[in-house]
Amino acid sequence: MPVITCRNLRKTYTLGARRVEALRGLDLVIDQPGFYAIMGASGSGKSTLLHLLAGLDSADDGVVEIAGNRIDAMTERQLTRFRRESMGVVFQQFNLIPTMTALQNVELPGVLARMPAPERRERARRLLDMLGVAQRDDHRPEALSGGEQQRVAIARALLFEPPVLFADEPTGNLDSASSQQLWELLAKLADDHEMTVVMVTHEPAAAAHCQRAYLIRDGVVSGSIETGTMDAGDIAAEYQRLSRSA
């Protein structure tokens, strides 16, 4: 069973008097767990695709299946629960709750799901340790570096050990060294835990850590690159070639 399936996905936004067709019948299948990139120019629809896959928004038409679950057919309550327990999302701006400590931020999905406190706490500490920020668990976001905040955000996304993790330009606010570390971390998560990690990025260096990159152009998947054995330069060249030829 494919991990992620999209069929004929359509989404249109209204901005003032203008209608913008962000996705125009997009099809995508990701067969097995791994680390995947979605690339495209600004306005190509890549972030829109990620929002629909993560259940943050609803499509106008089409099918979205995550681990065999039709999320387009779910009710609001079902989708909320699915988002909480079966998916993880990481954002560019980290989006930690500023009034909570790192540990409390990681525990938050468990609080919402009424997970028993000891279990919740144990999982959260383990995840922070795994991501290398255990020693900062009692700090609030304002006292953490960008890289540390993003790691805490990833730990939060992993509390329920979801099969799928979505990351929307997770290194957009990080320096190059921190970005490198984060890509390696995501790749390791995909490998070690047999997760499917889907990352939206415009950086070839990020795609170099993935096994495949899907190219989005004008609201549809215009191609893919097997990035597993390529470096950033090769990926960039291939991306340019595919963009010109479409």
Partner: protein, 855 residues
């Protein structure tokens, strides 16, 4: 539930200062309700104490119809009655006493009792020593003890005959009910008779019946069996007046609680809505992570509930403390000390929690609407014109509804009840809603001017204020309440003083006897060189029942029948007849069966007119009088209230009818004289006249006063009441100021990054402070406009009700100075409160402001 409580607690703990401000606002509301409840409970207890002192646990009271002394043999007749279990006699008289040790003299208003019978009815109250138990003992009040310079164990004597000699066995608290104090003493009847030389006379007998006897039936039977002028009255009839007073107080408490609830709920609504709007991103994150809408909404309600509960925990004890201070500051008004009502305090706590929860409902709805993709949305949505217009429409409709209710009908009952339950709350809510459009208008109109004055970049201030009209508008609403109270108090207070009280023409001097006066005492006064021949008039204030005044199902008010001698009265006082012929009126009054009324009476009851019949009920008999004139009130009823001549303090009376002493005697069988009104020669000053009259009476229990002194006294009471209520208005302003503090902090928090950028590119810290100060000033001006409007509209409603319920017509002329003072106080305390916040903002470094946005 756990998730909701965790989210609630986190939301509160994360913004401690603002949480504290909201809690304080709710606490102040709870303080107000708790203080009013405790003050009213204390007031009611004072009334009950007063009635208890008079009636004890008696079922019936026996006295002369004219409240004169009667034959003590009636006691023996009553004691033989099979229904009577206990009959306790009381005799009252005044006699002069002297302290033989130092020669100090005074007049004692004495109450003679039979101790074992009296104490079976009521517990004697003695501050020091013990109650009277035998002949030759006396308990004096502290005022009398002070005058004589006596303490426990000292001896005093009757001043003229030097006997009996009485031992002071107890000292009681002085009576604080009356404005003018009355030196009281208690002793046995036998000792009193020895002191006064009057044996065999009683002033009343209190009866306790055997079980199973109906007091009303026994009263009716005994009245028929006893001599004609002796009446037997169930004490329940007397306590009805007290219960009516308590009912009125409870009603006032309910209205205050509702208004306090509305004010606090709006403050919480504004504070929490601001909170939710700022936390949209946070709420969106929680939705992303799988937080359900109900959890987010529930968290907001939880926040509101916690704020309410904390507010109650702080506010209720504060309110009790405040009421305690009131009992210390005003012991004469609250003689029973501090009393608490469990119901009242529970209401205060409930108001606090309810206002927190109610204020959180709209923010809860907003929170539940948070979408996961809101986390991506960095732009604030501007307020729509539609929303502002809706607030304007609803606000105007609510305000108009109040005006319609107050003016559409001339039925006093309808106007009273509809105003209390509908009009007043509607007006309140209406002005709160109008805060939004008024804020927009004020920002547009004054923004440019204020920007120039504060040296701000053009357009910034207006845009900032108009961008959040709801937040600023509702905050202005919470600020307006105190100013509205101030405006209303001074508008109506001045109206009453200038248009009603000031127009009364008080006669020049009065003598009032504590236990009444005699005709012979008039002769003594007329013998004085500065008193004109025939320059005295005997006056009696007698409470009767009519259906003239009061609100149905609420409180019936008795009427004063002010009895005078028509010829000397008309010679002495130039009454201003607004209807009727003075000659005809005088002639008819002398004949009997006629009255003149105050002009307000005809305004209040337009179905009456000169020439109509007016019915008075007394002791089961109905008497008809012809109304022969309507006059500008000669102020005699107010003088009566001033000296508290009203025999039964539970009977509130408003307005008087003026009739003849002949009718008083023949129809009501009352021969009492309460006052002697005196006309003075122009050659004497008020002070000389008062001293001269006082010297005539020696040791008789009288007080003497000039009309000017009494009028000044009444005015001073009215003005001090206005000052006290103004202090309450300022306290209400402080409540609103807490709401302002909340939005200032919120406004700063929301724009920290923007401020950081401004500072980074070269703006001075003082610019930021001036910007916020400008916004605060716009809120103050909005509050000023709203508060003035609300206060004037409330004052108008008040005056309308005086006209409908009491016939008092006043001019609606708002006083400029108190309104300006109110505005000035409002602006001063608001800016004063926000100054520390502005100072702190001005001193923050650019980095600190920019850094605050991380995460």
């Amino acid at each position: 539930m756990l998730a909701i409580s965790r989210l609630s607690i986190n939301a509160l703990a994360g913004r401690r200062n603002r949480t504290a401000l909201l809690v304080l606002a709710v606490a102040l509301s709870a303080t107000l309700v708790a203080a009013v409840s405790a003050a009213l409970a204390s007031l009611n207890a004072g009334m009950q104490q007063s009635v208890q002192r008079t009636l004890g646990s008696a079922d019936l009271r026996v006295q002369h119809v004219g409240e004169e002394p009667f034959d003590a043999r009636i006691l023996q007749r009553i004691e033989r009655d099979p229904a009577v279990r206990l009959a306790s006699p009381v005799a009252s008289a005044a006699f002069p006493v002297i302290n033989p040790r130092n020669g100090a003299e005074a007049t004692a208003i004495a109450r003679g009792i039979v101790p074992e019978l009296e104490y079976a009815l009521r517990t004697p109250e003695v501050a020091r020593g013990r109650p009277v138990q035998a002949d030759g003992e006396i308990v004096v009040d502290a005022a009398l003890a002070g005058q004589l310079g006596v303490g426990l164990g000292d001896l005093i004597e009757e001043a003229w005959l030097a006997e009996p000699v009485m031992t002071v066995v107890g000292i009681s608290e002085p009576s604080r009910i009356q404005i003018v104090s009355r030196p009281e003493a208690t002793l046995t009847i036998a000792t009193l008779e020895q002191a006064t030389g009057d044996a065999g006379l009683l002033s009343r007998i209190q009866l306790v019946l055997h079980e199973g006897h109906d007091p009303r039936a026994v009263a009716e039977r005994l009245s028929a069996e006893l001599p004609e002028r002796i009446v037997v009255e169930p004490t329940e009839r007397i306590t009805t007046g007290m219960r009516d007073n308590i009912k009125a107080n409870t009603f006032f408490f309910r209205i205050s609680s509702v208004l306090a609830f509305i004010a606090a709920a709006f403050i919480v609504l504004t504070g929490l809505t601001t909170n939710v709007l700022e936390r949209q991103r946070e709420l969106a994150i929680i939705r992303c992570l799988g937080g359900a809408r109900l959890q987010l909404a529930g968290a907001q309600i939880g926040v509101g509930g916690i704020i309410g509960a904390l507010g109650a925990a702080v506010g209720v004890p504060l309110g009790v403390l405040l009421a305690y201070f009131l009992t210390i500051l005003f012991p004469e008004r609250l003689p029973a000390g501090l009393h608490l009502s469990a119901n009242g305090l529970a209401t205060a706590a409930a108001v606090a929690v309810a206002s927190g929860v109610a204020g959180a409902l709209y923010p809860a709805l907003n929170a539940a609407r948070a979408r996961p993709l809101g986390v991506m949305n960095k732009r604030a949505k501007p307020a729509t014109a539609k929303g502002v217009a809706l607030c304007a429409a609803l606000g105007l409709a609510a305000v108009a509804a109040q005006l319609v209710l107050v003016t559409a009908s001339d039925d006093g009952d309808f106007v009273f009840w509809s105003y209390a339950y509908l009009g007043l709350p509607a007006m309140f809510v209406g002005y709160f809603l109008l805060g939004v459009p008024v804020m927009v208008v004020v920002a547009k109109a004054l923004g440019p001017l204020l920007s120039r004055a504060l040296r701000l970049p053009p357009g910034v201030l207006s845009a900032a204020a108009a961008a959040t009209p709801y937040r600023h508008g509702f905050t202005a609403g919470s600020l307006m309440v105190g100013l509205a109270m101030m405006v209303s108090i001074w508008t109506n207070g001045n109206a009453i003083l200038n248009d009603w009280l000031a127009k009364m023409d008080f006669p020049e001097a009065f003598v009032r006897g504590w236990l009444g006066l005699a005709e012979s005492e008039r002769e003594k006064i007329e013998a004085l060189p500065f008193v004109d021949q025939n320059g005295t008039v005997l006056i009696t204030d007698f409470r009767v029942e009519t259906d003239a005044f009061g609100v149905d199902d609420f409180r019936q008010l008795k009427t004063s029948f002010i009895a005078f001698e028509p010829r000397p009265f008309f010679d002495m006082v130039s009454l201003d007849f607004v209807q009727g012929d003075p000659d005809y009126a005088q002639r008819r009054l002398e004949e009997g069966g006629a009255i003149i009324v105050a002009k307000e009476f005809l305004t209040y009851r337009p179905e009456y007119a000169v020439g109509n019949n007016f019915r008075i009920d007394h002791r089961g008999e109905t008497h008809d009088f012809e109304i022969v004139g309507a006059v500008q009130s000669p102020g005699l009823d107010l003088v009566s209230k001033y000296f508290n001549v009203g025999k039964n303090q539970t009977d509130a009376a408003i307005h008087a009818v003026f009739g003849s002493r002949r009718d008083l005697k023949t129809k009501f069988d009352n021969h009492a004289i309460d006052f002697i009104m005196i006309d003075l020669d122009d050659s004497v000053t008020d002070a000389e006249a008062v001293a001269g009259i006082r010297s005539v009476f020696d040791n008789t229990a009288v007080i003497v006063g000039s009309g000017k002194e009494i009028k000044d006294g009444i005015f001073e009471i009215a003005r001090s009441s206005m000052r006290i209520m103004s202090a309450v208005a300022v306290a209400a302003m402080l409540l609103g100021v807490l709401g302002v503090g909340n939005i200032v902090i919120a406004g700063i928090d929301a724009r920290r990054f923007e401020f950081g950028v401004l500072r980074a590119v070269g703006a001075h810290g003082s610019l930021l402070a001036r910007l916020i100060a400008g916004e605060v000033l716009l809120v103050c001006v909005t509050a000023g406009v709203l508060g003035t409007g609300l206060g004037l509209q409330g004052a108008f409603a008040g005056q309308r009700m005086w006209t409908l319920l009491a016939g008092i017509q006043t001019n609606f002329s708002p006083p400029l100075l108190p309104i300006i003072a109110g505005w000035a106080i409002l602006i001063a305390i608001t800016l004063g409160m926000t100054l520390p916040l502005l100072r702190r903002l001005a001193r923050e470094t650019p980095r600190a402001l920019l850094f605050a946005t991380r995460g």
